[in-house]
């Protein structure tokens, strides 16, 4: 079912902020290394979602600042998440009209590689600044992220759905 066929309610800025804060909090939960490898990058997923559906409001600036916040939370070098999120968010922004019309599974096929690319960018940045290679498991999150994408989209759209669709048609 293409998403764009529904008429969605406008989103309040508060709701966008709320979802991002929730994503950040889940990101800060001290998961064990295995769970952490499997779990997708929730902040990136929420960011991609809002870039796709609210591209006038959420864009590169949000990607950059979220990246900075995550870098500080993790104690990384500054800009590691910033670069990764900016570049990948741009790929969503540049195609957001097209992506909005795709069915969810096709969106997932676009989002998965983007998550992969974001991990790859971070890997390059970290290797360039002298870190050890952590292992291939860091890319598993991209796969599960693509699987999570339809669920997340449905969840975030629940709040935007109009309750009475019959009234619109009449």
């Amino acid at each position: 079912m293409p998403v764009s066929r529904q008429l969605l309610k406008p989103v309040s800025l508060g709701f966008i902020l709320f979802t991002i804060v929730v994503a950040l909090t889940t990101a800060l939960i001290p998961w064990g290394p295995t769970v952490r490898a499997i779990l997708p990058d929730g902040v990136a997923l929420v960011l991609f979602y809002w870039c796709m559906y609210q591209s006038r409001r959420v864009g590169m600036g949000w990607a950059f600042w979220l990246g900075i916040v995550l870098d500080i939370a993790d104690g990384n070098v500054f800009g590691q998440h910033g670069i990764a999120y900016c570049l990948t968010a741009w790929f969503v922004l540049a195609r957001h009209r097209q992506l909005g019309m795709f069915p969810l599974w096709q969106q997932a096929l676009y989002i998965g590689p983007l998550l992969f690319a974001s991990q790859l960018i971070m890997l390059v940045v970290r290797m360039a600044t002298g870190s050890a290679f952590p292992g291939w498991f860091i890319f598993i999150g991209a796969l599960t992220g693509a699987v999570f994408w339809p669920l997340l989209s449905q969840l975030l759209q629940m709040q935007q759905r109009t309750e009475k669709r019959a009234e619109i048609q009449s």
Partner: protein
């Protein structure tokens, strides 16, 4: 001209691509500035304080679960533990008595030797908040920070040996870089024969290694390595690692020596941040060095 009079509806600010260029170059600049000069620490501190409620929220369920599970420990388990602790206390008491005598003797000997090492300083007990989420770094975050006078460079130990070193201090938390972190060096000494060496971490999953040890260096399997104390950072005599494998390849100048950390580097919840005052003489300025030679090892 056309663009200046377009209706407000179409105005979206700069194009996404130019924004991408702006922000990507901004992050690159930040990256280079942070890696090269490390002058962004104040910004880090401010944001980390702002993030603390979120971190607390994220870790709260885990600590509540810990407390609840602690509360429902069974009677037998408690009795067993109590019994074991009593036994251990007796044993420890006996050792302590000998220890005190030895310490006294040691102090006298050291006064004779006029060394400045191993003052028997105090420490701060710290609880591990979480393993750093970042898969690239071997780091722990603990609940002691600037408020508790923790400073970067202090050594962190657990009951079995050296865990790591404080590398970044925020107002409420501090980061420990573990000895298993890539390129984190610890100067050590082989207990058996006093041979000095340097142990390097080599990433999160591989063990520690001793680098730059000549092929004919006298080091064997199961040798215990303790801190040598000659770097002025780590106090002498703390266990660091045990040698697990020695490869002597005639083709290379150095032996490949792998070790495993003596401490349970990633198993404990509580660690001790050592707070030792060590009076290290100032480094002599190379060309016009005064003829005062202090603390030469």
């Amino acid at each position: 001209m056309q663009s200046t009079i377009q209706p407000a509806f179409f105005k979206q600010g700069p194009k996404p691509f130019s924004r991408l260029l702006i922000y990507a170059s901004l992050s690159l600049v930040l990256l280079v500035v942070d890696v090269r000069w490390q002058i962004l620490q104040p910004a880090r501190e401010i944001v980390s304080v702002a993030l603390y409620p979120l971190q607390w929220l994220a870790t709260a369920p885990v600590s509540v679960a810990h407390q609840v599970s602690n509360y429902f420990v069974t009677q037998t388990a408690l009795q067993q533990e109590n019994r074991r602790l009593q036994d251990e206390r007796l044993l420890a008491n006996a050792q302590l008595l000998r220890m005190q005598a030895l310490q006294q003797e040691n102090i006298q000997l050291r006064q004779l030797l006029v060394t400045r090492d191993m003052q028997g300083g105090r420490g701060v007990l710290a609880e591990v908040l979480y393993n750093d989420r970042d898969p690239y770094t071997a780091k722990l975050v603990v609940d002691r920070g600037e408020q508790d006078h923790v400073k970067a460079g202090q050594v962190v130990i657990d009951p079995l040996g050296v865990v790591g070193q404080i590398t970044r201090v925020q107002p409420l938390t501090a980061e420990i870089t573990l000895i298993t972190h890539k390129n984190q060096p610890v100067p050590v000494q082989v207990v058996r024969n006093g041979l000095r060496a340097v142990v390097y971490g080599s990433g999160p999953e591989s063990p520690l290694e001793v680098r730059f040890m000549p092929v004919n260096g006298d080091i064997r399997n199961d040798d215990l390595l303790v801190t040598s104390g000659i770097d002025g950072t780590y106090p002498a005599g703390l266990p660091v690692a045990k040698v697990t494998r020695v490869d002597r390849n005639a083709g290379s100048a150095f032996a490949r020596i792998s070790c495993e950390p003596a401490a349970d580097v990633d198993k404990h919840r509580f660690m001790l941040i050592l707070n030792e005052k060590r009076s290290i003489p100032a480094k002599p300025t190379p060309p016009a060095a005064p003829a005062k030679k202090k603390g030469a090892d």
